[in-house]
């Protein structure tokens, strides 16, 4: 609900110093395989804006700062309160959600302009929209689920201690936004282009193959650890460790620790990676001696 009458800012900081216009520089790309290019936009400043409201204005005016008519900038967004992960992009050089990127803060750092780029490790679909299907594919690989018998009423689940809940809940808040992957030096971009005449199935299979030859990343490692510590989901522990032992598994981590510093939910990703490292080592030894 909007309160009747015009809304006026209540922010305390010096509103008189604020510009009347905001300059925005956007790295655009018309589609996969086409060259990216920078474009400048200018929008009216309003109090309490975030990057989403800037992009909404850019879409409505569809004109560059030179007045040239252009297509609206494409971008992805959902909840606008930083729980869905959709609106992730690189803002002033840092990967983050655009909903929680507040314009006043960004202008404090650089009053001249705001710079928006798509995420760098995922194929661009158009402008600021990227294809993050690889990230969901990784969740399949580590079988990030509880393998229950079915959905009939079988009574309550296992008793969980408060300590375990408090350890698992932060990991379970991961919204698959991909910040940890975008910031990771070991996580390389994989872009598979469809070949002429290739069927859906053949294309999907080729993509999967390409994804699986590369580092799986902090996101999926952390989810593997979450499910390995669940009393029932533990039954797939070996299968998960097998994936983390294979090439592209946990040993590919270079310990740069960027993942944990960019995670918007402050998930202890490096702790998960360390746990995974120990579990994988133990698993490898055990497998060696059990032969």
């Amino acid at each position: 609900m909007i309160a009747p009458g015009p809304e006026v800012s209540t922010s305390t900081s010096s509103s008189d110093r604020r510009p009347s216009k905001i300059n925005v520089r956007v790295l655009r790309q018309d589609g996969p395989g086409t060259p990216p290019y920078w474009e400048r936009h200018q929008v009216e400043y309003e109090p309490d804006m975030n990057v989403i409201s800037v992009l909404q204005k850019i879409a409505a005016q569809a004109k560059t700062s030179e007045g040239k008519k252009v297509n609206p900038v494409a971008w992805d967004c959902g909840c606008l309160e930083e729980v869905c992960g959709s609106c992730t992009m690189v803002i002033n050089g840092r990967v983050r959600q655009s909903c929680s990127a507040l314009v006043d803060r960004l202008l404090e750092d650089n009053s001249a302009e705001i710079e928006l780029q798509p995420m760098t490790k995922f194929p661009v679909v158009r402008d600021l929209m990227v294809d993050r299907s690889r990230l969901f594919h990784s969740l399949k690989r580590v079988q990030a689920w509880v393998p229950v018998d079915g959905y009939y009423d079988m009574g309550a689940g296992p008793r969980i201690t408060r300590d375990d809940q408090e350890q698992n809940y932060p990991l379970s808040q991961c919204m698959s936004c991909g910040c940890c992957l975008d910031a990771c030096p070991q996580f390389n971009k994989v872009e598979v282009q469809r070949q002429a005449g290739e069927s859906d199935e053949a294309f999907e299979a080729r993509k999967k193959g390409a994804y699986e030859s590369e580092f799986i990343g902090a996101h999926a490692i952390s989810q593997a650890m979450l499910f390995n510590s669940h009393p029932v989901a533990k039954s797939l522990e070996k299968e998960r460790l097998e994936v983390l032992t294979a090439p592209g598994g946990v040993q590919a981590c270079g310990n740069a620790q960027n993942c944990v510093s960019v995670c918007p939910k402050q998930i202890p990703l490096t702790t998960s990676i360390a746990r995974a490292g120990r579990a994988v080592t133990f698993y490898a030894f055990k497998k060696f001696f059990d032969r």
Binding site: E82, W145, S176
Partner: protein
């Protein structure tokens, strides 16, 4: 059933629950969603999910009480069998979510912890921090991914549902949808289509809802002949954080964990909140509603906050309307453990730590109680008959609706923490009925191709026509949407007047014509968000018309629908005898109003606007009774009400054969 398939549209809690249940029953599912399903709007639900539990049971609670609270909280506007079934399933739903690994908060001994929510006196609400919706959604997303790996589920993410496909007999046999990346339009043959596309908050411009909650999928079903029920019942949540792009929810759980709503007693008190002594603080909800305090049902809390700001001039901010929601008296570690998620949201978006400073909040459009009309089949106990193909079916055979986009569970006002329950419940419950539906019908895949091609080409034409509209003189879809939002917010939120509703209806009807002339900035055919948005704006308008028409025709106040010109007054007499007489009259007026308006408003699309009809409510289990929160003289009215009921019962017993001869108060 060999070549049967079901199409599920929408991958929030309801859509995912339906998908996984159908997969368990061996039915292949195509799951279509505007967004990767893990990013659906259900992630925004914060506070929790209700059910009777071992602890409340020993305090006198049971499933019937949960049912009664839901009906009473909804001001009796729900058909009762589905609500009863839901309340009785609630403990099983929570057990299932527990087994799926949801990280519910735990007691020191390891049981699921519970908190209290609005409209009940019991601690029924299970929660996972303050991100319960997210946690529940992830558990279902994981299960669906499991079925995806074995090939029972095929996901179509970044696809928009354009409309159902009906055969010559009016049966739904699939849908047409569009890939929002490649812009491909294609048909999907399906033996049943389940629409689980959530609410319609975007009709109001800004709300607490996610950007995909436009209501356009429901509207496309409506325009294809499905009925839309109780559209005028839109929940305005009492506590949200105003923002330029969105009004962010501040969960009811903040009050459930002890948060207090207050304003300074003196208008324009400029002291910082922490320097205002207790005696100068007006805890208006606690003072006016001693029994429920800060946890009165949402419609009541919203009106009180609105009233305190608009009519009593006690807003805590001179420049905008808001009141304090105060958590600062609760220890920091407890806040972090139970409310961390929502406190972070406030901190991130407002730059103020709510553990140190009271939050500033104001009501915001939050939930659509109304939605697609759906059927049900009751059993002998007044619950639902499991496996009936009628359950959750729209009036178009083969087209089902579940979750927030059906109208079935919440009546005139939804209780907090009942939405997650209704979504998961309706999703799980619809599956077996659909299996039975498919047994008795010819497989959609075997129908003539022409049915599908015809539907597909109709949508291709609409798309092509829109892309050809690039003249600068046309309407800008983004500005049109803003105008729609402003119109709806002014006329059809907390307080409603017929003059404003009439004016808004006319304006919105004109917007429908104007929306046909939208001009596009992008006429390309690759990831064209411009054209997809324009289509959804066009389709938001019929839903806006349903809301306004329903509100205009309903000359009463019920739940979230409040008309000052038509509400039951408080008692004014002070003399006890006079007061009792007044209460008698009050009860007569209540009965009369019940006879007239205890009905669902049901809209059908006539090609240019909704036609409205009324339908009786199934009150087979609970007799409607007045909701008296905060009314002066409530105790006298209640006394008279009870006397009348007793008399009616005795009359019924004494004269069993001609019962109903003069059943005072019975409806």
């Amino acid at each position: 059933m060999a070549n049967n398939r079901v199409l599920v549209v929408g991958g929030g809690l309801a859509g995912l629950a339906a998908t996984m249940k159908l997969a368990e029953l061996g039915v292949p599912v195509d799951l279509l969603s505007l967004t990767p399903v893990k990013r659906s709007h259900s992630v925004c639900a914060q506070g929790g999910i209700n059910s009777v539990n071992d602890q409340t049971r020993q305090q006198g609670d049971n499933e019937w009480n949960h049912f009664d609270d839901t009906i009473y909280g909804g001001d009796f506007l729900q058909n009762q069998p589905p609500v009863k079934e839901m309340a009785y399933w609630a403990p099983k739903v929570i057990d299932l979510m527990d087994r799926l690994g949801v990280t519910f908060n735990r007691t020191p001994e390891g049981f699921i912890d519970r908190r209290r929510f609005g409209g009940t006196l019991y601690k029924r609400t299970a929660f996972a921090g303050a991100t319960t919706g997210q946690q529940l959604l992830y558990a279902l997303d994981e299960q669906v991914r499991r079925h995806e790996v074995v090939g029972l589920v095929k996901k179509y993410e970044f696809w928009d549902f354009l409309g159902p496909i009906l055969d010559d007999n009016g049966r739904c046999v699939g849908a047409v949808a569009q890939d929002m990346v490649s812009m491909e339009i294609r048909s999907f043959a399906a033996d049943a289509v389940i629409v689980a596309t959530g609410g319609c908050g975007l009709v109001y411009g800004r709300s607490t809802m996610s950007v995909f909650c436009t209501g356009s999928a429901a509207s496309r079903c409506f325009q294809a002949g499905a009925k839309y029920g109780n559209g005028e019942f839109i929940q305005v949540h009492p506590t949200a954080i105003p923002g330029a792009d969105k009004l962010r929810l501040m969960s009811e759980s903040a009050r459930g964990e002890g948060g207090r709503v207050w304003v300074p007693r003196r208008p324009n008190d400029t002291r910082p909140p922490k320097q205002i002594p207790q005696s100068d603080r007006y805890h208006f909800l606690e003072e006016r509603f001693p029994k429920y305090g800060n946890l009165v049902p949402r419609d009541i809390a919203t009106r009180e906050i609105f009233n305190i700001c608009v009519n009593e001039g006690l807003s805590v901010d001179p420049n905008r309307m808001c009141v304090y929601l105060d958590l600062t008296h609760i220890p920091r570690h407890e806040l972090d453990r139970k409310l961390g998620g929502i406190l972070e949201i406030y901190e991130k978006f407002q730059g103020v730590d709510p553990r140190e400073e009271p939050m500033k909040i104001f009501p915001a459009v939050h939930y659509s109680m109304g939605g697609l009309w759906v059927d049900y089949e009751a059993n002998a106990d007044g619950g639902l008959l499991p496996g009936s193909p009628r359950n959750q079916s729209t009036n178009i055979p083969g087209l089902y609706a579940i979750g927030e986009c059906d109208y079935q569970y919440h009546g005139a006002n939804r209780l907090g923490a009942n939405s997650l329950l209704s979504c998961i419940f309706s999703g799980l419950f619809v599956g077996p009925g659909i299996v039975n539906w498919m047994k008795n019908n010819k497989a959609a895949a075997d129908l003539p191709k022409s049915i599908f091609e015809g539907a597909q080409s109709k949508h291709q034409e609409r798309h092509k026509k829109l892309l050809s509209q690039a003249s600068a003189a046309g309407e800008n879809p983004y500005l049109l949407h803003q105008e729609l939002g402003d119109t709806m917010t002014r006329a059809a939120t907390v307080v409603r007047y017929n003059s404003q509703l009439t004016e808004a209806y006319d304006r919105v009807t004109q917007m429908l014509e104007r929306s046909a002339r939208c001009s596009l900035a992008d006429t390309g055919n690759w990831t064209n968000q411009n054209v997809m948005f324009t289509k959804s704006v066009q389709d938001m308008i019929p839903i806006a018309q349903c809301i306004l028409k329903g509100a205009l025709m309903r000359d009463e106040s019920r739940g979230a629908h409040y008309k000052p010109d038509f509400c039951m007054p408080s008692l004014s007499a002070t003399d006890p005898v006079e007061r009792k007489k007044e209460a008698e009259k009050w009860c007569d007026a209540f009965d009369e109003n019940t006879r007239k308006f205890l009905k669902s408003s049901v809209c059908s699309w006539n090609g240019s606007e909704p036609d409205l009809a009324y339908e009786d409510i199934d009150t087979r289990l609970l007799k409607p009774r007045p909701r008296l929160y905060g009314l002066v003289g409530a105790e006298v009215i209640e006394e008279v009400w009870k006397e009348r009921n007793k008399a009616a019962e005795q009359a019924g017993q004494a004269d069993g054969k001609s019962a109903g001869k003069k059943l005072v108060g019975a409806v």
